[in-house]
Symmetry: C2
Subunit: 636 residues, 2 copies
């Protein structure tokens, strides 16, 4: 993928900042073969403190990258429930007034908990992976300036001046892209004169303390929000017997509000002791303590020219209490990574990059509104037990529910990561998409473009392994074509799909690998095209699937991606074919689901006899790829 024979100081991308957003971007692009200059102005990874919450869907993502076990090897804390503590109706002190699930069962999560681990350990997992792919983060180096001029140099429009933080050495490099993942005080954002819009005049000063404590407070290993007459605290458990306490020190609603107000560790500990009465708490060790003002701000632009991009905290700042910072950073980076790859590898038109800002900025806006709402929820009294029960029931949100239950369900969906979605555009089909084939299936609550592919468990035919379908294609930068083949006697529609895909100008055949003849027969994911991995799922028992008979050779070449939809699922207990049912697809006729490289559905198409299925796919991909598709006997 990397351009050959370029000068040594030419890179595909310069990435500034090795926090979560920079590392995720770097790790993806390094795996996909790009040449990266990655710098960070810190001498080493985050030593203590900072972000630490990995939400359920982010854990899926880390697993898809093969990084989950390295994270879990550190034995992070897992938060399954949130407990509420308040003053009792009579008397002093605090009592537990309720609990709720942090990821209730109506969210069909593989890992229904928040994983809490020190950011530095998470960074090191990424750094180790980068090093396997030949990328070293250059430290402590900083960016001193940059220019971007596509006219002067259409291929490498960006020039970046870098310097060792002590000024002893410097270098100037050229790149196709520059990425600013420097955090809230972004030099790149400042240079671009991109403003920050504060969503709300309210601002807070928070204290945060990580440490090992001795306490008889019973919920010290749970996430807790504690309100007392002496103030409020949030408790977050951590790895290695540690606990994080968030203590609000000042709010702009205070009469004497001062965003520079501070507080010593001792003062905060004394406050915590008062709040936790009648329970005792003593610190055996304080690992990290910090005070910081928080405003809810969002960058006006994420890019000006689609060459210099921003992501992560450079674009959005908010309260850390909901544990969203790192997760949002991961998704900013992933969203940009696959789009850069699609463009630079020659698959997508450059305009695909224009979807980065609207997709990710809207998620940030949602996050900020959520953060605001969440703060209010936590300053209110806890809800009645019946409401909590209704809120955690397995039904998805519906219109008839009361406002609290609805807000809770939506919040849980959003904070778990499963509820993050993208609006209609070229890659997220909708009825107003340029592709107007009648073969597109309209969005449903189960399966909709812009939303994640639902999780589903199936049996791999070739080795009878029971597997998680959504994890079967690794994060390889390819679109994932899930062909739900249903269960018809003759597999006619499947044969027609394969025949259509084999036509020279199809979305699939147009992007055949040039090295097709030299590819090992062990290649599982990209034997034919670098841009597609194809999975075929039959709605019948594994033993009834006969690959030689049922699967056309084009699809059978992805032998490790032929599945039987024959595993019972508690979410759809009566379904004959759970995966089909979870997608809302007919167990007889099936359907084709296009999934973007980041796991979000792109389009859903009927699986029909004749040419309509492939024509619809040609139309869909035709709206953003570099080749003209279809036209050989199809409608185009």
């Amino acid at each position: 993928m990397a351009t050959q024979q370029r000068p040594e100081n030419y890179y595909d991308i310069v990435i500034v900042g090795a926090g979560p957003v920079g590392l995720m971007l770097s790790t993806c692009l390094a795996r996909w073969g790009y040449k990266i200059k990655h710098i960070d102005n810190r001498a080493e990874p985050t030593p203590t403190g900072r972000a630490d919450g990995i939400q359920p869907r982010s854990l899926d993502l880390l697993r898809n990258m093969g990084l989950k076990s390295a994270i879990m090897a550190h034995k992070p804390a897992r938060v399954y429930e949130v407990a509420f503590w308040d003053p009792p109706k009579r008397g002093k002190g605090i009592v537990r007034t309720g609990t709720w699930a942090s990821c209730p069962s109506f969210i069909d999560a593989r890992y229904p908990f928040t994983t809490l681990l020190h950011q530095g350990l998470i960074e090191r997992v990424f750094i180790a992976d980068l090093e396997k792919n030949g990328v070293q983060v250059q430290r402590p180096w900083t960016i001193k300036g940059f220019t971007s001029d596509e006219k002067a140099n259409p291929e490498y429009p960006v020039e970046v001046r870098l310097e060792h933080v002590d000024g002893t050495s410097s270098e100037t490099v050229r790149a196709k892209y520059l990425f600013g993942g420097e955090g809230a005080r972004s030099f790149i954002r400042d240079q671009l004169k991109i403003g920050i819009t504060h969503k709300d005049p309210i601002a807070y000063v928070w204290g945060v303390m990580d440490g090992v404590v001795k306490t008889d407070f019973p919920d010290i290993k749970m996430k807790c929000t504690i309100h007392s007459e002496h103030g409020s605290i949030m408790v977050i458990p951590r790895e290695n017997n540690m606990v994080r306490l968030y203590i609000q020190i000042a709010s702009s609603t205070d009469a004497d509000f001062n965003p520079r107000k501070t507080s010593t560790a001792e003062e905060v500990q004394a406050t915590a002791k008062r709040i936790l009465q009648p329970y005792s708490i003593e610190w055996e060790r304080v690992e990290w303590y910090s005070v910081y003002p928080i405003g809810q701000g969002i960058a006006d632009k994420y890019t000006l020219d689609h060459r210099v991009f921003l992501g992560g905290d450079s674009c959005h700042t908010h309260s850390p209490k909901a544990g969203q910072g790192m997760n949002t950073a991961f998704l900013d980076a992933l969203n940009l990574a696959w789009k850069i790859h699609a463009v630079e590898a020659g698959f997508a038109q450059r305009k695909l990059l224009e979807t980065y800002e609207p997709e990710r900025k809207e998620v940030a806006e949602t996050l900020l509104s959520f953060d605001n709402k969440y703060a209010k929820l936590f300053s209110q009294r806890p809800p009645a037990a019946a409401d909590v029960e209704a809120a955690t029931s397995s039904a998805a949100p519906d219109e008839g529910e009361n406002a609290f239950v609805k807000t809770f369900k939506e919040s849980c969906s959003f904070t778990s990561g499963y509820g993050v979605f993208y609006r209609a555009n070229d890659v997220n089909w909708s009825p107003s998409h340029p592709a107007q084939s009648r073969a597109f299936l309209p969005p449903t609550p189960r399966l909709a473009p812009g939303r994640l592919l639902p999780n589903a468990t199936v049996t791999r035919v070739t080795d009878a392994n029971v597997v998680h379908l959504e994890q079967e294609v690794p994060l390889n930068g390819s679109f994932r074509l899930f062909v739900f083949a249903g269960n018809t006697p003759d597999n006619r529609a499947l044969a027609d799909l394969a025949a259509g895909m084999a036509r020279k100008s199809s979305f699939y055949a147009s992007f055949a690998r040039p090295d097709a003849d030299t590819i090992s027969h062990h290649e599982k994911h990209n034997p034919h095209s670098r841009f597609f991995t194809v999975c075929t799922v039959f709605a019948k028992p594994r033993a009834a699937v006969e690959v030689a008979r049922d699967v056309p050779p084009l699809l059978a070449r992805y032998l490790d991606h032929v599945y039987a939809d024959d595993v019972w699922d508690r979410q759809v207990p009566d379904a004959r074919a759970s995966a089909h049912a979870k997608m809302g697809l007919d167990a007889e006729r099936g359907g084709v689901v296009v999934v973007r490289p980041d796991g979000y559905v792109g389009a859903v198409v009927r699986l029909e006899e004749g040419g309509a299925t492939v024509e619809a796919l040609n139309e869909y991909f035709g709206s953003f790829v570099t080749r003209r598709l279809g036209g050989e006997g199809g409608k185009l």
Copy 2:
């Protein structure tokens, strides 16, 4: 644990052989603080070939040791199903005539598959763990001789002469124990003049070949038994696209049988090609090829003096095809390890060591009978589809079933490891045990002394984590006391249990740690006694368990081991408290389950108000521990 101030060449144990049995023993004892001399006559771990099958229950064990993720990081093959291929009714070649689950759903396995990974990689996982505990395997060294004389030296009765394999250096060491895990050609067994009894005059010569192949045989990633007019093969998938083929070269039933018959790799490949017709097979690479005669033999004794012990292949040899060798070796070692620990740490009387041979020899006998039966099963035609369906149904074996179904179910139970059991003795209570309290609960099909504790999923109260109960106590050498507390309004029986355990001469208080005052409050598993970890499981929802109110302080000290039995389980879908139900315990009254350090149930006792529960436990432990128990207001 290790005796202080002993001469440098004095060890707790000398272990000869660093295959699965030696490494498991060494790893356990190293973790529990023993001083080990471990030698192996090979210059490095197994480079290729040998055993490679980890059965479901062994994977549980590895997880309990914290070694599972290191194993799984190698991406081993997983066998979920076995396929049968035979000549078609008409015509030539082979056809698939059936499949069955390798670990059917009637076995409640956490990991219902066989894990296949090269033995050398597995050895390295153990070796890395050993090194963390300061033990290095000394290579290539061999044993030249030994004596054992308890009269001459009661504490260190064994003297062992060791030598570098090239004879350049040697040393003589003293030890409390000597263990022979040297494989089938055991020097130690020979020196002890312990004979091998061959169960059956039949012997075989097998060829085994590991390699990477190119084939259109559709089940190459499954375990297969293939019978054809040209001979028989067993296919076992391996990691890294490898496959193992077992080919029978000769059998003592052949007219010209010669146990030294051999065959070249090329001859075996040619045979395999003929057998697999009409499918093609080519080898891209052969990693390992070996021919070996197999007899089903068992050592007459595993020890003569309970100081010099044998285990693993030194004691039993059989066909490798059922993938039992490594698993049996693991369990030999584990069985011996905890007993040596119990004796040397001052908990159990020395006679506990006398249970090693009968427990493990009977399992080996069962294995040999199974191996014999298995060989016959595989040489027969496959069963009818209806039989296979009946055999894989979720019901446990019952009397009314036909012989095939019954054999199949028993075989699956045994080979998965879940069906391995030990007969009644001092540690496995039965009605004929010296402890005769009426509080003992009789064995049931769900829960019986000598059998594994059933798997059960529960919620940990302190942090609301959903956990696997059977994994909650790590392999720490301690007895596990599972107090199923049921759900009574006043927890009276629980309070009486705690009061009884607190009495000075109870089984529990008698073995209080001498360093009790200096133990960190973070100590989760052994805060009071090195010999017990105590878990308390309530049959009510987590939110209804209030530790301060419901759990007596003695039990609440194990705060991380207080659970709520509130997780739905598909095996007992209608149960209100699944874990209680899976144990066959009353959801109201509960019961106390003593589990040996190796995960096998020792005794089950009613949980009753008054002193009877603790009295029964005092009687049970009193039969094999070093202290006189009970007698303060109890019956003893």
